[in-house]
């Protein structure tokens, strides 16, 4: 089975310290006011002296979905699901920052990087992985709430956690089911905040127009074939060019 790089997150361990958010910004040089990952405090925010409130924190980022609606919204394949690793990748050289993929993510994991002017999101820190290090957020997490690895590999830490907790893993639910590859052990709070994958009207228009454009080209091609057919069958009777 091919790899599926994923995160298995023990939400109960998260203390909302935001070290993962800071480490990601530093490691990936993410511009001010933009973030590749987050920690969602959900429902009751604990207050001093109130014993009913229970803290629940939900760390998150791009979920490298099995059904990536962002990929469907990209006209050039600049963002794609890597069949080897299961990652949803952005090819920075091919992306021109048209923004189609951004509303297509129901988890708001994508943004247009203000410095690069291209789509941006979590990429599991490929530079760090190439150097044998885990992604920055995972590396820095003081309680090790975030565990990263190939969930299809039973030997990996993520794979072991995934298997051990298979029956009680939670995923963030969205109105568009993208089959995210981010799994929560423990109570991550509200898991139903995911929105709808919105494909921009311009991309819808392009998809709708494509068969019509092909139809016009095909019609024109048929016309040429008909003329060619007549040229060969009827021969060249262009006597009209001669005078008298």
């Amino acid at each position: 089975m091919a790899q599926q790089l994923a995160m298995v997150i023990d939400a109960a361990k998260c203390i909302d310290c935001k070290a993962c958010v800071a480490a990601c910004k530093v490691a990936n040089d993410v511009p001010e006011d933009q973030f590749r990952n987050w920690i969602k405090p959900t429902q009751d925010v604990p207050a001093p002296g109130v014993l009913t409130a229970r803290a629940k924190f939900q760390p998150g980022a791009c979920m490298h979905c099995d059904n990536p609606t962002c990929v469907d919204a990209c006209p050039t394949g600049a963002t794609y699901k890597d069949p080897e690793t299961g990652e949803v990748v952005i090819d920075d050289d091919l992306c021109i920052g048209c923004g189609n993929c951004i509303p297509a993510c129901p988890y708001h994991a994508r943004f247009r990087n203000a410095a690069k002017r291209k789509a941006d999101k979590c990429n599991y820190c490929p530079e760090r992985r190439a150097a044998g290090l885990p992604p920055a957020c995972v590396d820095t997490c003081p309680t090790k709430a975030r565990v990263f690895g190939d969930v299809n590999d039973p030997e990996s830490e993520a794979g072991r956690l995934y298997r051990k907790n298979k029956g009680r893993l939670t995923r963030v639910a969205a109105r568009t089911d993208t089959k995210p590859n981010m799994f929560y052990v423990g109570d991550p709070g509200d898991p139903t905040w995911g929105g709808e994958a919105v494909v921009p009207a311009s991309m819808v228009a392009m998809k709708e127009a494509a068969p019509l454009v092909k139809g016009v080209v095909a019609l024109s091609g048929l016309g040429v074939l008909a003329m060619l057919g007549r040229q060969f069958l009827a021969g060249n009777d262009s006597k009209e060019d001669r005078d008298g």
């Binding site: 600049a78 050289d93 920052g97 048209c98 923004g99 002017r117 311009s202 494509a210 080209v217 060249n236």
Partner: protein, 242 residues
């Protein structure tokens, strides 16, 4: 040597073939940039092949953008060198005489595909109405090319600037540019198929094809294919080239 009529300037001939070469290269590279099963004109395989040929999608995009900018620069240069020629061309291709030209267009389509018999059977005269410097088919394709070319160039520049100067608030413009660029190319390409057949393959337009190299057409070709232009040249005493 037979009497000849001048039809194209050197700059006209140059811009025509420059445009043709750019179009071939831009089509080959541009189609390779579309990789989405819902749009992909040739289906899967072609974009991947083009990309691996030039060492990646990023390189293919850079090549396409480079040729596109050269294409636009070529037209700006042409407008500077031969503005009068461009104005003459635009005035000719956008002046349509509805009754005469629509009749020509319909009859020509029947003649080219089915021959004169259906026209005769319907009691119509298969003789085509006289045409000017351009016939209606040439005018129709020129109109589509000019309008399409402007859309393609403007949307191309918007896309080129997207990740160079535009902010996130401009992505609507960029995204619509992608859609319009694709649709405009598709429509001009449909016309291009007929243009290539009529001009380069159909035997009766052979003198017209040759004039896109030499710049001149023989007198009898001008008389039978562009009667109104020929009459004007005769009465106004235009100096025919020998």
């Amino acid at each position: 040597m037979a009497k000849m009529h001048k039809r194209h300037d050197k700059s006209d001939i140059l811009i025509h073939w420059f445009n043709a070469v750019c179009w071939v290269l831009l089509l080959l590279t541009g189609v390779g940039l579309i990789q989405n099963p819902a749009i992909d004109p040739f289906g899967s395989g072609y974009p991947e092949a083009m990309r691996s040929l030039v060492g990646g999608g990023g390189n293919l995009l850079a090549i396409h953008e480079g040729i596109g900018l050269v294409w636009i620069a070529g037209f700006i240069l042409y407008l500077i060198v031969n503005f009068r020629g461009a104005r003459f061309f635009l005035a000719e291709v956008f002046s349509v005489s509805p009754a005469r030209d629509m009749g020509w267009m319909l009859k020509k389509m029947v003649l080219m595909t089915l021959g004169p018999k259906p026209l005769k059977a319907m009691g119509m005269d298969p003789e085509l109405p006289a045409q000017g410097f351009y016939n209606m088919g040439q005018k129709a394709f020129a109109q589509v090319s000019v309008a399409g070319g402007v859309v393609i160039a403007v949307t191309g520049v918007i896309m080129y600037l997207s990740d160079r100067t535009f902010g996130a608030e401009a992505t609507g413009w960029v995204s619509w540019s992608i859609a319009l660029h694709f649709i405009a190319v598709g429509l001009v390409f449909a016309g291009l198929l007929v243009h290539i057949y009529m001009a380069a393959i159909s035997p009766e337009e052979r003198p017209g094809f040759k004039s896109m190299f030499t710049g001149a057409v023989p007198d009898d070709y001008a008389k039978h294919h562009h009667r109104l232009w020929w009459e004007k040249a005769e009465t106004e005493g235009e100096q025919p080239t020998e």
